[in-house]
């Protein structure tokens, strides 16, 4: 395992009707092993594009991604991904979903079974191994997605708004779970979110991106993730720095959205 380096990555593509879009421009990031990073930004700032490049689903038009010694050129099991929803395999039960990665690599079944049991325990779904995906609630489904990703023991976990579709209570429980897993496994986690609170809670480092062209606007190093491990997140939110930080970032994103709206209207 080693760090992830985003080396001057740019992404420019042509629109079908003509003209270019600069989705990302000169992104530079040095992510250390075991870091928990949250990425925040208004719609269209290229955060999902960045994540897709990190995952290897998109090739950047400039720059490169280095994971340790080698360059990222496509999807691989060393970089696991947790999607918002709908990425689980409905035709398999929970255990088979979780064991999918190891199975693809030809891991012996007994070993897979052990791993699955262990992961079911970690995500709190001990009783649900034989259930079908459609029998689970949205929150449980995301637990399965998390476990499925962990089963492969990836170096980096990429999360694309994994909690976006959950209700507030479930979301809070899942946030605690993500923190626990981060602490227990020591994985590098990069999480994209729309929610400022979530970004504050789940980011040792919080990256705010700005649109047109998509770029890194500001970075914060925050104590809340460390505080939140094993603690009640509602208590963390009472921290004296939490409120001011939230307002600061909210205003920042608000201004960006305003600017986009203004530009669209005047255009």
């Amino acid at each position: 395992m080693s760090g992830l380096i985003v080396d001057d990555v740019s992404m420019t593509f042509e629109l079908p009707g003509g003209g270019n879009v600069e989705a990302l421009k000169n992104i530079k990031l040095d992510i250390k092993e075991g870091e928990l990073i949250s990425v925040l930004g208004p719609s269209g700032c290229g955060k999902t594009t960045l994540l897709n490049i990190l995952a290897g689903f998109l090739a950047p038009t400039g720059g490169e991604i280095m994971l340790g010694e080698h360059r990222v050129i496509g999807p691989s099991s060393e970089r696991g991904m947790v999607f918002q929803q709908g990425a689980l395999f409905e035709w398999m039960n929970v255990s088979k979903n979780i064991g999918f990665g190891p199975k693809m690599k030809g891991t012996p079944q007994a070993e897979i079974n052990n791993r699955v049991t262990e992961l079911l325990d970690i995500v709190g779904l001990q009783e649900f191994g034989q259930k079908m995906i459609y029998e689970l609630s949205g929150g449980m489904q995301q637990r399965v997605a998390l476990a499925r990703c962990l089963a492969n023991d990836p170096d980096v976990i990429l999360m694309d708004e994994p909690l976006g579709a959950l209700d507030a209570l479930t979301r809070e429980k899942m946030q605690s779970l993500v923190l626990d897993i981060w602490k227990k496994t020591g994985k590098t986690i990069i999480l994209i979110t729309h929610s400022v609170e979530e970004a504050l809670l789940l980011g040792e480092r919080l990256i705010v991106m700005a649109p047109r062209p998509g770029r890194i606007h500001k970075q914060y190093y925050l104590p809340f993730a460390e505080l939140g491990v094993g603690a009640d997140l509602r208590v963390v939110k009472q921290h004296e720095d939490f409120g001011p930080k939230r307002d600061e970032i909210l205003n920042m994103i608000w201004d960006m959205e305003e600017e986009i709206m203004g530009r669209t209207e005047s255009a």
Partner: protein, 443 residues
């Protein structure tokens, strides 16, 4: 051209009237049964399920389920209408008047060349259709005057020409003519009502006797249920034209299964190829899009020219009928895969072939099953049509052969069996789908 178009429009207009009438009767019976059923049920205490507590049902499709009482009553009504229309013996009493069978008579008056008039009796015996053993009426030896009595034998629902004057004295002279029936004057192309029938004077001056037929349908057009059932038992035991009933059906089924199997064998991989590769999609796209709207029946002549009327031709036709549907189903299945699932599989270390077998294939099963159900339906329809054109054995061949001998009962048996088997195939496909695609529509 314009006249033909007008004729078609007029015919259509009358069809609209006719169809409206039939529906009105059918819906009227439906409403009647509905109120009777509700009246009977209103006296019972009913369990109140969740659905029964809904106040908004009109517009809430989920609260509309097929009422099985209505289904049964509807089918029974169809049989009742069938029985009434054909004057079936299964009914305890006849609702519509039945055609006259038995003896009747009338009297005709003739005027000879000299201007004298005389009258004579005609005995009419109406026999059951096809009854060749009925006792013949015997012509009376003599009668008074120059007009002589006649006898006429006529079959149920048929008309018979009677040359009443042939045996009359001077009846063959020019100027001798019949002037009245039962005392009522008659002229060419006029009719006179007699007891249990009518008498028509033809353009040539002869009399035509038509016994009363009533409004019921003749077996030639629609046989009553019991006749169909008897014929079914006979077919079941003896077959038709040397081929057993079930042998005919089996042959149709074998063709369908073979053609459908070939269509799946080639169609599903082709559909996948079109869903997974731009070049192959481009390559096959024009062919598939062109062939898809061509009805398989339009290919029958070409298939006969190419392969003759043997099994090869029919199986090829069914293969073509199923192929395009399966290609499009499989292609739609691939394009229906959520990109997140594909990305997830690759991120979990799946190879292309693993992605195909573990993600794309299961994910497209619902679409493939839908296509397979459509393909099976089309194949079943096509095989019957193909057999109508040319076949040694088969359900379609049986009904077209029977229709040439006006064996309407066999035609109806064929139609019922074809319908039941088509329905059975669909039910089987749905059962298979529910077993294999448990996750469909959920998640």
């Amino acid at each position: 051209m314009v006249q033909e178009l007008i004729d078609v429009l007029v015919t259509t207009f009358w069809m609209v009237i006719g169809i409206t009438l039939i529906f009105a009767i059918f819906l009227g019976v439906s409403a009647l049964v509905y109120y009777v059923w509700n009246f009977i049920n209103s006296k019972k205490d009913q369990m109140r399920g969740y659905a029964s507590l809904k106040t908004v049902t009109f517009g809430d499709e989920s609260s509309v389920t097929a009422n099985r009482v209505a289904s049964v009553a509807g089918v029974v009504t169809v049989f009742l209408i069938w029985m009434i229309a054909t004057g079936s013996n299964l009914l305890p009493f006849k609702i519509l008047p039945v055609p006259f069978i038995g003896d009747t008579q009338f009297e005709y008056t003739a005027t000879n060349v000299a201007g004298e008039t005389d009258s004579a009796k005609v005995q009419v015996r109406v026999t059951k259709f096809g009854d060749t053993n009925a006792e013949k009426l015997v012509a009376p030896e003599t009668s008074d005057g120059f007009a002589k009595d006649d006898v006429v034998m006529v079959q149920e629902r048929r008309a018979k020409l009677l040359r009443a004057q042939n045996n009359d004295d001077g009846g063959k002279e020019k100027g001798y003519r019949v002037t009245a029936v039962n005392g009522q004057p008659i002229d060419k192309n006029q009719t006179v009502e007699i007891e249990n029938g009518t008498v028509l004077m033809t353009g040539a001056g002869s009399l035509q006797v038509r016994p009363y037929t009533g409004p019921t349908m003749e077996a030639l057009y629609l046989p009553p249920p019991e006749q169909v059932w008897t014929r079914f038992l006979q077919l079941n035991a003896e077959g038709y034209q040397g081929v057993g009933l079930w042998e005919n059906v089996m042959w149709s089924l074998i063709r369908v299964v073979l053609g459908f199997f070939l269509g799946c064998l080639f169609g599903i991989p082709l559909g996948f190829a079109m869903g997974l590769n731009s070049w192959l999609r481009g390559w096959f796209d024009p062919i598939v899009e062109f062939m898809r709207p061509v009805p398989p029946l339009a290919l029958i002549p070409l298939v006969i020219i190419w392969f003759g009327i043997g099994e090869q031709g029919k199986v090829s036709l069914l293969f073509l009928a199923a192929l395009w549907i399966m290609i499009i189903g499989a292609r739609a299945g691939v394009s229906g895969v959520n990109i997140s699932k594909v990305h997830a599989a690759y991120s979990l270390g799946a190879t292309k072939s693993q992605l195909l077998s573990k993600v794309i294939l299961p994910n497209s099963l619902p679409e493939i099953f839908t296509a397979a159900r459509v393909a099976m339906g089309v194949c079943w329809g096509t095989v019957v049509a193909a057999e109508l054109v040319a076949a040694e054995k088969g359900a379609g061949k049986m009904i077209i052969a029977a229709s040439k001998f006006q064996l309407t009962d066999i035609v109806i048996i064929g139609i019922i069996i074809i319908g039941v088997i088509g329905f059975g195939i669909d039910v089987l496909m749905r059962v298979a789908e529910n077993k294999l695609v448990t996750w469909k529509g959920r998640g």
